[in-house]
């Protein structure tokens, strides 16, 4: 029995690889690119999460954090916590910052952080000057702003800014703070000392105030959690966070992004696999004679196959290693961007687990596509040496091969699904991919079937084209598969890119308001509305009452005991939400189940966001317990609404019935859309309504756009790599076809068929292929792009015909050019070398 590994065979493999690598350059290139992309994704994901975990205490700001929401901590409780370690308290709230008290003042909606002298317990603040934080504590009514405010307002140190008309002296600016505040990626922020904070008259509600107490343990080894949990049990509105929870949202974002990009890279790899199969079969056909000679000399088929496998897997090992190493080296490039955006740095690191995943992915993909290709060696007979006739090999499937291929496919799916946060999506994705492959393959067989039924075609080039497609050894199915997948990939990415760009360039919807106003007191509401109308009598103003509430029980059970953190609607449970009430159902929140509030019914009724209901498994008539102003109130869900938070109007997760709510102390939130925007002066407004914060919608969208833009660029870069691979695969299919036509073309030439007819036949053959796959490719690309945009990125999808048609036309033209170039090369073969079999 032959040994599995024979050093001599390995030697032949290396020798052949060194001398023939140019012929398989497509394999090398596509494999490298797709493994590189996967390596980058894995390396970045790992490094980011490691950094977040390693710096969890810094990101949290302590060994644990107690959030007492909008009330100061109870003194008794605080005394008991003090024994654990050092406590640093911060208060955060939203407010307006202006550069003057004049009517033309520039305003910023900011998150203001009031810190004590112990802040930060972990990490450090990057500021200018370095001692800005010290100055904050020692200088009365001083403030440190973030760099953007500092530059936009063109402030210098010792200039004055105003918060709620109270002057603050600017003692510096902040580049980054170590703990991830609530306004992380988004907000402009400023920092004051706790003493300065007391000078401000803060409302607890609309300012979204949040008290946080962070603790640095005296002794890291003490087992404090149980005692802390017991203590906090008596204060149900308090929540405790540990370092491992400090950046859940960010981790979720990383997971989603990584999921999408991993799927893009595996698409690229699978499509590259088709290219590999095409190139490899072409390579084997070129080595037809060598293989026949080896067989005549006494090499067994299995030995020759082993040599080819050694070649491919040696190549794979080298390429995987190189791709992974290059990916690690690219981490510092991305690091520069991450430091600026997130304030965290990531390190390059060789992680064996990630490398194994990259290598295994490559191994499985290559196995899937190499098994039927290398098995084709079986078809090469040494008797051909005597006959001087070499039939081109085709993919060769045996029972053993098919079983191994199925095993490899399953292993590949498991490899990606196992590590994925959404394994269902991953499995579905692979399923769709294989459905597309089967559909395209079936289509090719159908076309061959119907073309064979055509009896006689007068037009010679068409006859040659049909003959090529229908002959028993045709590679038409492979060409359809390669071209079909390539076109589907490119079209999908076009539609995804278009929808992303659309989001980025989105003009503010016509119905969207110009401003949001928060912290409108009950008593000043009417005056507020009157004032806005006096500025612009055509202004459309909407006001809604708001009150703070937390959802503490669902059907009398604490949801935090059974709802997982990765639940899409977990955010509803995390902290206080603002709820409201209304006599009529909001026009833009259609009721999809149940009915609106009964005015006569004074019991507590709740209207809930339908998606949240679905995620938290809440149904009509279920009971929800809300905590409002410290009181627990149980109510019944009586309807579910469809809420689209993207429409920029006032939207609430929960609405309650006005007949119950009317006596609850509350504030107002409002939106305003002006006919004549310039008439509204923010500075003047702020002078009159010191406590009301204004958020200009266009500024807010600008920030969102900025972030989406960055994501868009990253997606386009990764996707363009998949596009390149798609084009290369198409090209490899064309080259295979052209090479196989060499001998045929020689005979045609000898028989007197001119080049023009042969070129025309190639073009007609391509057109038959291309036109047949367009509709299938279009259908699947619409489906895939819709899924990616709506489900993964949660943006709105629309069909774009012009760009898609342009892309199709572009692919068609490029492919025809490739065909013409390749066929021209092989169209006029030199007869003598072919006769001499060179």
């Amino acid at each position: 029995m032959e040994k599995l590994f024979n050093f001599q065979d390995f030697k032949y493999a290396i020798r052949d690889l060194i001398r023939s690598y140019k012929k398989i350059s497509t394999i090398i290139f596509t494999l490298f690119i797709s493994l590189f992309v996967l390596s980058v994704i894995l390396s970045l994901e790992y490094s980011l999460k490691k950094e977040l975990n390693a710096n969890a205490k810094v990101l949290l700001g302590g060994d644990f954090e107690i959030n007492t929401r909008n009330e100061k901590v109870d003194d008794q409780y605080l005394k008991k916590i003090e024994k654990f370690g050092t406590i640093s308290s911060t208060v955060e709230f939203s407010t307006m910052l202006t550069n003057s008290t004049k009517s033309d003042a520039k305003t910023f909606f900011i998150r203001l952080k009031a810190i004590d002298q112990k802040y930060p317990l972990y990490g450090s603040v990057q500021s200018f000057p370095d001692n800005a934080l010290t100055l904050l504590q020692t200088t009365k009514n001083s403030i440190v702003v973030n760099r953007k405010i500092f530059e936009t307002l063109k402030i210098k140190v010792n200039d004055t800014v105003y918060i709620k008309q109270t002057p603050f002296r600017v003692v510096g600016y902040v580049e980054s703070v170590p703990d991830l505040g609530r306004a992380l990626l988004f907000g402009d922020f400023a920092v004051v000392s706790t003493n300065s904070f007391l000078n401000l008259n803060i409302n607890t509600l609309g300012s979204f105030i949040n008290y946080e107490y962070r603790v640095k343990l005296n002794n890291e080894n003490i087992n404090f959690k149980q005692e802390l949990e017991n203590l906090t049990k008596n204060y149900p509105s308090y929540s405790v966070r540990y370092p491992e929870n400090s950046s859940n949202n960010l981790k979720k974002l990383i997971d989603n992004f990584s999921q999408f990009l991993s799927l893009v890279s595996i698409s690229a790899m699978l499509i590259a696999g088709i290219g590999i199969a095409n190139t490899l079969i072409s390579f084997i056909n070129q080595k037809n004679i060598s293989i026949a000679i080896m067989k005549s000399l006494g090499f067994t088929t299995s030995t020759i196959k082993k040599i080819f496998y050694f070649e491919i897997f040696t190549l794979l090992t080298i390429i995987s290693l190189l791709a992974y190493l290059f990916a690690i080296l690219s981490v510092p490039i991305v690091n520069a961007y991450l430091v600026k955006t997130l304030g965290i740095t990531v390190q390059s690191e060789f992680i064996l687990k990630n490398f194994i995943k990259v290598f295994l992915s490559g191994f499985l993909v290559v196995s899937i596509f190499c098994l039927p290709t290398i098995s084709a060696i079986q078809q090469i007979k040494p008797t051909s040496l005597f006959r001087n006739v070499f039939q081109p090999c085709e993919f060769y499937f045996t029972k053993k091969n098919i079983s191994l291929i199925i095993l490899a496919i399953i292993s590949l799916i498991l490899l990606f699904a196992f590590d994925s946060k959404k394994p269902f999506y991953t499995v579905m994705y692979f399923l769709v991919f294989f459905i597309i492959c089967l559909t395209l393959y079936g289509l090719s067989k159908l076309i061959i079937f119907y073309l064979r039924k055509i009896n006689f075609i007068k037009f010679l080039p068409l006859r040659l084209a049909v003959k090529n497609i229908t002959n028993p050894k045709t590679i038409f199915p492979i060409t359809v598969l390669s071209l079909g997948l390539g076109v589907t990939l490119l079209l999908s990415l076009t539609l995804i890119g278009y929808n992303f760009k659309k989001e980025v360039q989105k003009s503010i919807p016509e119905i969207a308001p110009d401003y949001f106003f928060v912290s409108i007191q009950n008593l000043e509401k009417d005056e507020f509305v009157k004032y806005l109308k006096s500025n612009d009598k055509n202004a459309v103003i909407e006001t809604m009452p708001i009150v703070s509430a937390s959802l503490i029980k669902i059907n009398k059970k604490d949801p935090l005991t059974y709802i997982k953190q990765n639940n899409d609607s977990f955010w509803v449970l995390e902290r206080d939400r603002r709820i409201s009430w209304s006599k009529t159902a909001p026009k833009d929140n259609p009721i999809i189940e149940g009915s609106w509030f009964d005015e006569n019914n004074k019991s507590f009724q709740i209207s809930l966001d339908a998606k949240v209901a679905k995620d938290l498994n809440i149904k009509i008539n279920d009971s929800l317990t809300l905590k409002i102003y410290g009181r627990e109130i149980e109510g019944k869900v009586i309807n579910l609404r469809k809420v689209d938070y993207r429409d920029l109007s006032i939207n609430f997760v929960m609405l309650i019935n006005p007949s119950f709510a009317q006596n609850i102390p509350h504030e107002y939130i409002a939106t305003a859309k002006f006919k004549n925007l310039p008439d509204f002066k923010e500075g003047v407004f702020l002078q009159k309504f010191k406590n009301i914060s204004t958020i200009k919608v266009s500024n807010y969208l600008g920030k969102v756009t900025e972030i989406i833009n960055k994501i868009f660029i990253a997606v386009i870069i990764i996707s363009s790599i998949a596009v390149i691979i798609g084009l290369m695969v198409i090209s490899s299919a064309v080259i295979v076809q052209a090479r196989l036509s060499v001998y045929q073309n020689l005979i045609f030439k000898i028989l007197g068929i001119n080049s023009k007819n042969l070129m025309l036949a190639s073009i007609i053959e391509f057109l038959i292929t291309f036109l047949s796959i367009i509709f299938i490719a279009a259908f699947f690309s619409v489906f895939v792009s819709y899924f990616v945009i709506e489900t993964i990125f949660r943006l709105s999808w629309s069909l774009e015909i012009i760009n898609s048609s342009v892309v199709l036309l572009f692919i068609g033209i490029i492919t025809i050019i490739l065909i013409l170039i390749n066929n021209y090369k092989f169209l006029s073969p030199k007869a003598y070398p072919l006769v001499r079999n060179e």
Partner: protein
């Protein structure tokens, strides 16, 4: 003289879509060790098919092939490959050297697959004897037709096989090279006591062999 090869009532048929083609019809043949045999016949007579049968590259439809007292008709593909590896050398009309192996590598390949040591040294010595000292590291595309065929012959005889099969070895060469090649074949087959079966159209070459077999319509006449 000891019998090396015996064909007993060999038939070879090919099935096509519509019919059965009888290529070899009841051939009986005996070849002794060290014997040179010329196989002549018109194109399509079955000469090449006969060679392929003997080389184990085709399986007879019926009949027996005895090689060194072993019935090889029932051998598996791997056993036949093993036989070719150790005991049979083949020379083709079109040379058929491996294009991306040098002359030296093409010859030493045979020694390597038989796990012989000093492959490079032995191959180089033989090629030098063939007048190819300066061509050891040339690829086939860098050799003339005559040089290529000399390399092919060196490859076929380096292991001193029991049997050399040559299918029109001078068919693609000019007369001068032709003579050179045939002389080499005769010389080394005699030297190694190898039997030589030579398919040829050239009557003058056929006459130099110990025996001439003429095939017509798949039969020896």
């Amino acid at each position: 003289m000891k019998s090396l090869l015996e064909l007993q009532d060999i038939y070879l048929n090919y099935k096509t879509e519509n019919s059965l083609v009888e290529v070899i019809k009841g051939v009986n043949l005996k070849i002794n060790s060290g014997e040179n045999v010329a196989v002549v016949g018109k194109s399509g007579s079955g000469k090449t098919s006969l060679i392929m049968l003997i080389a184990g590259l085709e399986k007879a439809t019926s009949g027996k092939i005895i090689f060194e007292d072993q019935d090889i008709s029932a051998y598996s593909e791997d056993e036949l490959a093993d036989l070719r590896k150790k005991k049979i050398g083949i020379v083709f009309q079109s040379f058929y050297l491996i294009p991306n192996y040098t002359a030296l590598e093409n010859v030493s390949l045979v020694l390597e697959i038989n796990k012989i040591e000093n492959t490079q040294k032995k191959s180089a010595e033989l090629l030098e004897q063939f007048g190819l000292k300066d061509r050891l590291n040339h690829f086939p595309s860098q050799l003339s037709g005559g040089e290529q065929q000399r390399v092919a012959i060196a490859r076929s005889i380096i292991l001193s096989p029991k049997l050399i099969l040559a299918d029109e070895p001078s068919g693609n060469l000019d007369s001068e090279n032709s003579k050179l090649i045939i002389n080499l074949l005769f010389k080394y087959s005699k030297q190694n006591n190898s039997s030589l079966i030579l398919v040829t159209h050239d009557q003058s070459i056929a006459k130099e062999c110990d025996k001439i077999i003429e095939i017509k319509d798949g039969k020896i006449i």
